[in-house]
């Protein structure tokens, strides 16, 4: 199953989900599904940055997928970056969630990714472009679940105080509502055709 995710500023990521499929004996887990995430950059070979992002995505997805319903299987999520103009990680998170939704895998909740950039003067920007990311003092990315807006994953680049992080989190949780509404609308549109 394929889906395309576009975030403001023309960052786009193509997500493909395969599974639950047969797992290699070395990788299969006896009680749950083994999830594998592959992130391919637009140019060049995947490096350490891609690997760390893959782990973040994998841990977020594992928190919502009901893996116990498919033991000894493998679920593969492949993400290909088509264009990157900022907020790449949150775009990948959104693409991953839509791919999971599209494929019909059992999920306990939905999640979305929101990036906040903390500017030197203290203002908070949502979904920064590449230029704004470079000028910012800190960039925080949150993965927020649909059930009571709980935080599934938080990653920070740069330095900020605890209060500033709490403020960014509050702003991100409000923004998450818009994204979940977008999910609902697109699913509704898809099912209205049948």
């Amino acid at each position: 199953d394929l889906c395309l995710s576009v975030s403001p500023g023309d960052t786009s990521v193509l997500a493909g989900l395969y599974g639950p499929a047969e797992a290699k004996i070395s990788k299969e887990l006896p009680d749950r599904a083994a999830l594998e995430v592959l992130l391919r950059p637009k140019v060049g070979l995947p490096g350490v940055l891609e690997r760390s992002r893959e782990q973040l995505l994998r841990q977020t997805c594992e928190a919502v997928i009901l893996g116990v319903l498919h033991p000894r299987t493998a679920i593969s999520l492949v993400l290909q970056v088509l264009s990157d103009t900022g907020s790449l990680l949150s775009c990948c998170l959104n693409a991953a969630c839509m791919a999971l939704l599209d494929a019909g895998l059992p999920l306990a909740a939905l999640f979305c990714g929101v990036t906040c950039a903390l500017q030197p003067d203290g203002t908070i920007l949502l979904d920064p472009t590449a230029r704004q990311e470079q000028e910012a003092r800190a960039i925080l990315t949150f993965a927020i679940a649909s059930s009571e807006r709980k935080v599934l994953m938080a990653t920070t680049k740069g330095s900020c105080s605890v209060e500033e992080m709490q403020q960014c989190l509050a702003v991100a949780q409000r923004a998450a509502t818009t994204i979940f509404q977008f999910y609902r609308d697109s699913v509704r549109r898809r099912y209205s055709k049948s």
């Binding site: 639950p20 047969e22 319903l69 609902r184 699913v187 099912y191």
Partner: protein, 256 residues
């Protein structure tokens, strides 16, 4: 739609639900509170247990939605709720009739690819009239239409080609020629509904043989290869065509 605190299940029947939505059930389904309430109005509480179908899980006081789709409800026999979702990947379920492709012969069992996460096993004795001396003539690459007798998440799925009374009732090795292709599970359910219009309209076009497997596979055989391919194309396109477009396409073909 704020679904964090749960919305009544009846209000959402026929609408799109997303994973994480909590559905609250009417009070008379709640078995824990049986002793607390007096059943004042006779006939208000339906007898029987509520069935929680695919796409839903019990959680606390209600049902948690786990896949996105349309919520459906069947009131008979205690009631059942389930989520109708469009999917391509098949998960074996006991009792489903599927088309499998033989991939290997391992001693007394055949290994079949049914499109799930594991190959299914089929014993050579599970055919009508098969004995230890009278083995069925199954080769690698053959198509088999059978049903699951064991299919759960912990064990390897097992298939048989006979029903509980020992008769084959249409199951077994599918003959030569014909064309096998894959469609989404939603289309399969639509085709298998009683009095499906698509099949009726197609049968007026050309005579053909059709085997539909719940794992998304369909096998078609008509008199000539051209007729077979036309039917295959129409069935594949049916997923995205409305009834009007389909009637137009068929009218164009029968006019030729």
């Amino acid at each position: 739609m704020a679904a964090e605190h749960g919305t009544a299940a009846e209000a959402l029947v026929g609408q799109v639900v997303l994973p994480g939505d909590l559905l609250l059930l009417p009070a008379h389904y709640d078995e824990d509170a049986e002793g607390e309430r007096l059943r004042l109005s006779a006939g208000a509480a339906p007898q029987g247990r509520l069935l929680c179908g695919p796409g839903l899980r019990r959680s606390g006081a209600g049902l948690l939605v786990t896949t996105c789709g349309l919520l459906r409800h069947r009131p008979g026999g205690g009631g059942a709720y389930w989520v109708d979702s469009q999917q391509k990947r098949y998960v074996p379920v006991k009792g489903d009739h599927v088309i499998g492709i033989v991939t290997a012969k391992a001693g007394d069992v055949f290994r079949l690819d049914v499109g799930g996460s594991e190959p299914a096993s089929l014993s050579y004795l599970a055919f009508e009239g098969a004995t230890k001396r009278n083995r069925p003539n199954v080769q690698v690459g053959d198509l088999i239409y059978g049903q699951f007798v064991v299919a759960n998440k912990d064990m390897e799925p097992e298939m048989v080609c006979i029903d509980s009374s020992g008769k084959s009732s249409g199951m077994g090795i599918i003959g030569q020629d014909g064309f096998l292709f894959k469609v989404s599970l939603g289309l399969i359910r639509k085709l298998l509904a009683p009095k499906c219009e698509i099949i009726q309209e197609l049968s007026q076009l050309y005579p053909f043989e059709l085997v539909i497997g719940m794992n998304g596979r369909i096998w078609v055989k008509a008199k000539t290869i051209q007729h077979t391919l036309i039917i295959v194309n129409i069935l594949e396109a049916c997923e995205y065509m409305t009834a009007e477009q389909r009637k137009q396409a068929l009218a164009k073909l029968s006019g030729n």
